[in-house]
Structures are given as C-alpha cells and as structure tokens.
C-alpha cells in the first residue's frame, strides 16, 4: 500500500485532457480487481481503467482486522497484483480520485467527473464501489480515539494509537467487531464488546452458533455484554479524547480506544444519481446488470437474486464477502463480453477469531431446521441448516471437513439428510446423497 508509485500513464488521453477508456471500473476493490482480471482472461481487448478513492494500490481487506492489525503481515503482502501485472494487461490504476457525477448515454457510454476536476470518458461502466462503515449515532461519537475498521487507512490509524491503550471497547459483536476484539485481546488489551442485540453475529449465523461463540469468547477472556444500550461516549475532564462508554443503565466502561463495527451502508449515491434502481444496494439481475441494462454493479454494493441453486424465484440478497466479490465479478465480466452466464459456486464466508476458525458454506435464508454436530474433545462444532428437508448451509468452527462436505454437496445439488448428521463421529461426506 505504498503511496510512492504514480498513477500509470493512460494511453487513451484525449486532446482536452480527459481520459478515454473502454471500461471504467469505479472502485479499486476486491470485485473491481477481479472484474479486470476476469475480463482479460476472457479476451476483453479494450483499455480498462480501475479507479479508486484511496491512495493505495488495490489490496486485500480481510487481514486488516487480524494479521495486519496484529503486525504479523505487512502492507506489501496485502497488495493484489504487482504493478507489472497491470502494465502487462493494459489496465490503468488510478488512485486517489473520487467520482462525484456521471453523465451517461443510453448506449452505456459516458463521462465520469472526479472531485479533482479530472474526467474519465468510458464506453462501458462498472460500479464496484462497495460499502462504507455505518457511523455510530450517539453523543461523543466524534471524539478522538473512536475508530472504524473498513479500509487500510482506518487500520493504519488504529495501529498508530494502540500504544498507551489499556482498555478497548468494541461496539458491535459481528464479524469485524469480534475479529478486532480478538486481535486487541491478543495484543494485551482489556477488551469489552458491547452488542446491541440479544446475541453475537446475529445477522450472519443462527442462535446455536451465536451461543457457541459467546461462551468461547468469554472463556478466552473477552468481556461481552449483550443487549447493551449506549448513552454516550465520554471524555475525561471535558477533553477531546474518549475515556469511556456510558450505558443507559449508568454503567461506565473505561476505554482509551473505541472501535465501532456496526455494519456497513452500501455506496449507492452514484447509482441514484444515474437513476438506477436502488433498494438496499444497486438492484441487479442474474447477470450483474443494473436497471439500465448496460451498467454492471458487483460485490458488496449489489442487491442480486439469491444465487444459491434452487432458491425461490424473486428472492434477493446483498452479500458482503470476498467470495461473492470474486464470483459476482466473473458473472459481470461475461455480461460485458455479451455472454449470459449464471453465478457459479456456492457462496461461502470465513471469520478467524482467536483460535476459532469459522467457515460458512451456503446461505441460511429461509431455513426451518438445524442440526448441531459437536465434538468438544476435539474442539469442533458445526450447525447444519435445512429448508424443507434440504441442506442449504452450514456454520463450521474448526471443522473444515464438515465445511468442505457441505460446500461440495451443495455444489453437486446433493442433500445430507438431517436424521443421521448429528453424530460427530459420522463423516459428513459419507452421508451425501443425490436429492
């Protein structure tokens, strides 16, 4: 993520100083990178511009809350592709430009106007603009020492102020909150997690998995408080730096650092300005095309038909994951090549928290039954989710064999009958049958 490399020279510069490109990808993100890479693999031969707001080369985000925060990997190892790769593949990286307005023609071409005054003329447009951290709305939320963890600058800012922090409060018991809390705990901080809801990771996993993580994290030394209602963030002696979190019941949790991880908001402003359909993200069809039929929207920002094979017609979902960013970008790349391909593969997710390695296969949307497989001696725990008797997903903690068995069964359209699955001694793979 060095900031020393200059923007790659763009071959398609016009006489008026505007950049001319075949495809403008707004968002130098996981999905933006994959879109460019997949298009080149498919033989797309026009110039590509991959444009991002940040002053960094495109990088991988998952480690920011884990290895990068803990200092076990450096920023260089987070970079997706070497500069040489982009040069060799005729992709211009543009860093530090924020697009404010887009004029677009019915044929899909147009001009994007950056805050700096720079203009980018394109034949086709891709929006891989992702999502931003949801802001905490309580008095004191603007104090120094209140941080978020969405991008590299957030992580660098967080790392820069860790010295001298004894007590950290993490607001939000979701993936980011618990990953960061585990990292901070490992780095010797006293960590309290304040979760608004009645259970952990409530948006992504079922009750059994939430309960497992609650016990496991408490055993490992995190102070976790569910149903927390925050009154305000306080600063000692009326200063500018946070010193504690005040709850509605009057409790004060001391904190020299408050990390907020309460979800994200999709970046739909450009799509709205373009008149595209927006509803919890940019609405796209099965082929990643937005409502204008020419712009593709990919990854965290896209509200798409549920990609899980066999899911009901009309069911929609917005997925925030690396795997979706990659697979959805592949679908979009085909669309831009004039081909119509369906989403391939089974959505999956991972979250590493301390020594707890959670892998999720499939989507739990609409589940009506669960089966728990638990082997405390070997520290393995899985929950299988069913919809009308058909397996649709699994949460697996330190149980990669279960994860792989369910992922492969879903990919092959198989079932793992619920009645036999609860016994952890049974190898799940052997239960898979054609449904």
């Amino acid at each position: 993520m060095d900031t020393t490399t200059t923007t790659t020279a763009v071959p398609g510069e016009t006489a008026d100083g505007a950049v001319r490109t075949g495809l403008l990808i707004i968002g130098a993100s996981q999905s933006g990178v994959q879109l460019a890479v997949s298009l080149r693999a498919l033989g797309f031969d026009e110039h590509i511009t991959l444009l991002g707001e940040e002053d960094h080369r495109p990088y991988q985000r998952p480690a920011l809350s884990k290895e990068f925060l803990q200092g076990t990997v450096d920023s260089e190892s987070l970079i997706f592709r070497s500069n040489q790769y982009w040069e060799d593949h005729n992709v211009a990286l543009v860093k530090g430009e924020r697009i404010e307005r887009i004029d677009k023609q019915p044929d899909g071409s147009g001009v994007a106007h950056a805050a700096s005054g720079a203009e980018f003329r394109f034949r086709r447009l891709a929006l891989t603009v992702g999502a931003r951290a949801r802001k905490l709305q309580v008095p004191g939320a603007e104090l120094d020492g209140v941080v978020y963890l969405r991008n590299a600058d957030d992580a660098l800012a967080l790392k820069a102020q860790l010295d001298g922090v004894q007590d950290a409060v993490v607001i939000g018991g979701g993936f980011i909150g618990l990953e960061a809390a585990s990292s901070l705990h490992k780095m010797g901080k006293n960590v309290t997690v304040l979760e608004y809801g009645p259970r952990l990771i409530g948006r992504a996993v079922g009750e059994e998995t939430s309960e497992y993580f609650l016990t496991a994290h408490r055993d490992r030394g995190l102070d976790i408080r569910l149903n927390s209602r925050i009154q305000e963030l306080a600063a000692a002696d009326g200063g500018g730096r946070v010193s504690g979190v005040v709850l509605e019941d009057g409790t004060v949790v001391p904190a020299q650092l408050v990390l907020v991880g309460i979800g994200v908001v999709p970046n739909t402003e450009l799509a709205e300005q373009l008149g595209l359909d927006v509803d919890n993200g940019i609405v796209v069809d099965r082929h990643a095309l937005a409502s204008d039929g020419t712009t593709v929207a990919v990854g965290d920002v896209a509200n798409m038909p549920n990609p899980l094979p066999g899911s009901p017609e009309g069911e929609r979902i917005r997925l925030e994951s690396v795997n979706n960013a990659i697979e959805h970008a592949k679908v979009a790349a085909y669309s831009l090549m004039g081909r119509r391909e369906d989403y391939a593969g089974i959505p999956w997710f991972w979250s590493n928290q301390a020594d707890l390695k959670l892998q999720i296969a499939g989507l739990t949307l609409g589940y009506d039954q669960t089966v728990v497989r638990r082997d405390d001696e070997r520290g393995k725990f899985s929950v299988l989710y069913y919809r009308g008797g058909q397996i649709i997903a699994a949460d697996c903690v330190n149980a990669p064999l279960d994860f792989m068995a369910v992922k492969n069964a879903l990919a092959k359209g198989q079932n793992i009958p619920a009645d036999a699955a609860a016994d952890p001694a049974v190898v799940l793979k052997t239960l898979a049958t054609d449904s």
């Binding site: 998952p62 997706f80 592709r81 040489q84 391939a344 994860f403």
Partner: protein
C-alpha cells in the same frame, strides 16, 4: 532470489521469481499465475491454492498442520500424496520450487 516453476495442467511451464518469506501462493497471485485462486488470501480457509509438489523436493517443505491436512480433503481436484496448499509453502533464499497446478481450484 527464490524461483517458483509453475507447471499447469496442460504442461506449460512458467518461472516466477519470488521474495524470501513470501509463499508460493502469494508469488503466484501477485503475478497472475492462473492456476492458483487463493480466495482467502492465505488464511487456510478456502483450499483454492492447491498444488502438487515435485516428489523429490517434498522433504524440503515444512510439515503439514492438521488444518491444512483436513482442508486438502475438500479440494476441487482430489488430493495426491504430493498435494499441498501453496499458501503454507514459504520460499527461502535461493530456493527452487517446482509445483504443478490442478486443472481447477473451484
């Protein structure tokens, strides 16, 4: 500089220079070697950086941990005795690593 010699499923060879301490997976991804996907970025979660290591160099490799071993049972192309996840193979100064990528990773 260490060098990784990648052979794809069709037999085409590509030699890529790496940095000591980097993994075979990182070396592949950064340079766009197509046979390695590595969705999880090296955190042992996805098993999409599966490679077959040349038999006579297997003893130079670090031992396999349980997690890698279990993940290898879920690779897209079935594991062999010389299978490894390339995110777990760190390069040493001057090392030559010979790996073959499977036909598919997903």
């Amino acid at each position: 500089m260490p060098t990784v010699h990648f052979t794809d499923a069709e037999g085409a060879v590509r030699d890529v220079e790496g940095n000591p301490g980097d993994s075979v997976m990182e070396t592949a991804v950064r340079n766009g070697v197509p046979g390695i996907v590595a969705e999880c970025g090296g955190s042992l979660s996805c098993a999409t950086c599966h490679v077959f290591v040349r038999e006579d160099t297997l003893d130079q490799l670090p031992e396999m941990e349980e997690m890698e071993d279990e993940m290898l049972y879920g690779t897209a192309v079935d594991r062999e005795d010389n299978s490894r996840l390339s995110c777990q193979l760190k390069l040493c100064e001057g090392q030559d690593m010979y790996v073959t990528t499977p036909e598919t990773q997903v």
